[in-house]
Structures are given as C-alpha cells and as structure tokens.
Amino acid sequence: MSDPMRIRAQLKDGGITEVRVLMAHVMETGQRKDSAGATVPAHHIQSISATHNGKAVLSAQFGPAVSQNPVMNFSFKGGAKGDKVTVSWTDNKGGKRTDEATIS
C-alpha cells in the first residue's frame, strides 16, 4: 500500500544499538484546506512499535503534528550484529506497514 520504511540499525560502542527509521507517509493534519476550500481530512500515523528479535523495545504514538515522511531515532541495549529489528506502524485510516532490518 505504501512505500517501504527505511530502517538503519547500527551497533555502537558500549553495546548500544542505534536505530533510525524513515517512514513514508503524508501525515495530513486535518487543518489544511484544498483549492476548493474543503478541509483535507486528517491522515497520519498513530502508533508505532519496534521490536528487537521479537522483544518490544519501543512503542510510540504520533499526532498529526509530526512532519511528513516522519523520521524517528532511538537506541537500545542488548543488540548484536545480525539481529533483526522490526518496526510497524498503523495510521488513523487503518493503513499499516511492517518492515525489518538487520543490525550492522
């Protein structure tokens, strides 16, 4: 349905894994009007969850104020090279997407 997320997970010094996620989404606020003066309905990501080898490491909730094509970074302990990091999101219209990356 939507473009894949770009996920980069890197193991840093001290055993911390840094994850950067770029999601492709319009993030429509519901405040904007189109050229005919009709309000453009809100369409934005609501919930995000990230797991490391199946164990939840982060969950987030986004409002419409997050920028278009949202970027999110976070880091967690306990990752190892080759482990899988999975990120999923759902939006307010029921759209969803899950993508996976390998820690490098």
Binding site: K55, A65, V66, S67, S88, T98
Partner: protein, 154 residues
C-alpha cells in the same frame, strides 16, 4: 501502578509470540498501544499531563531538548529529547502554539535508552516542551524555537 503501562507490557509480550507464529506484514493492530486521543486533543501542557494520567509536571534540569534555536522551515523541525532521570517510562514532545499541543509520545521499555528524536511541524515560533515520566512522576523541560517563514534567517 500505571494500568495502561501494564497493558502495554502485556500486549508487548503477546506481540512477541504472534510475531514468531505469523510472518511479518500481517500483524494484528491489537499489538499496538491504544492511541491516547484525549492527550492528542489537549491544548495546553497541563491538559496533556492530565490526559496522560498525571497531575502536574515538575521542572527538571536533567532533560535535554536538542532543537534548533531558529528553524527556517516550520514544516520540518528536528527535535530530540534525552533524559538522565532514572526509570524513564515515557517521553512526550509538545509544541505549545500548535492547534493541539502534543506532537508525539514514546514509551521507553526496558533496555531502551531515554533518548529519542523525530521531526515535527510548527505553525509559528513557540516553546517546545518535553514531558518525561520517570518513576511515576512527570517532569518537564522547555526550549524556545523561532520559526522564520521568510527564509532570511532573521
């Protein structure tokens, strides 16, 4: 005891089982925490804290907000929040003068660093607040971000 956090942890655990059984892409939405509509509809800092289950937020010097002093493009303002407080449970980013103050909230689970970042939209120059819930209490830090629309960096 924060009941919502308990539920989140439980759903997190079941999520792991489901993920093992079901291939990626067909995960049920029940794996996600319920979107906190009240918090995202709130207009002010205090209302957001109340919607998140607290009463007031205490000022703290242990929260660092990384954001530009002057943002040239209000549609994309990078904001990162790091906290040195112990037992951080969640981090929320608020923009005071947006139509709805709360932009994003992150639940920090065990093993995850209290350091998150994203990019938000800002309608005009405003204070940016970071609410950190640590050990059951709410703390807040504030930074002013000026938004220039003319692009001259004034």
């Amino acid at each position: 005891m924060n009941l919502q956090r308990r539920t989140t942890l439980k759903t997190g655990a079941s999520f792991a089982l489901i993920a093992a059984a079901v291939s990626a892409g067909v995960l049920p939405t029940s794996a996600f925490a319920q979107w906190n509509k009240n918090a995202f509809d709130a207009k002010t800092l205090n209302d957001v804290v109340k919607a998140m289950g607290g009463t007031t937020a205490e000022k703290s010097g242990d929260i660092a907000i990384t954001a530009p002093d002057i943002a040239e493009n209000g549609a994309v303002v990078p904001i990162a929040v790091a906290s040195k407080l112990a037992n951080v449970e969640s981090i929320a980013i608020l923009v005071e003068k947006n139509p709805n103050a709360l932009a994003a909230s992150f639940d920090i689970l065990a093993g995850t660093e209290a350091n998150v970042g994203t990019r938000v939209k800002m309608g005009q120059s405003s204070n940016v607040h970071a609410i950190v819930k640590a050990g059951g209490k709410y703390y807040v830090a504030t930074k002013e971000v000026k938004v220039t629309l003319g692009g001259c960096g004034g």
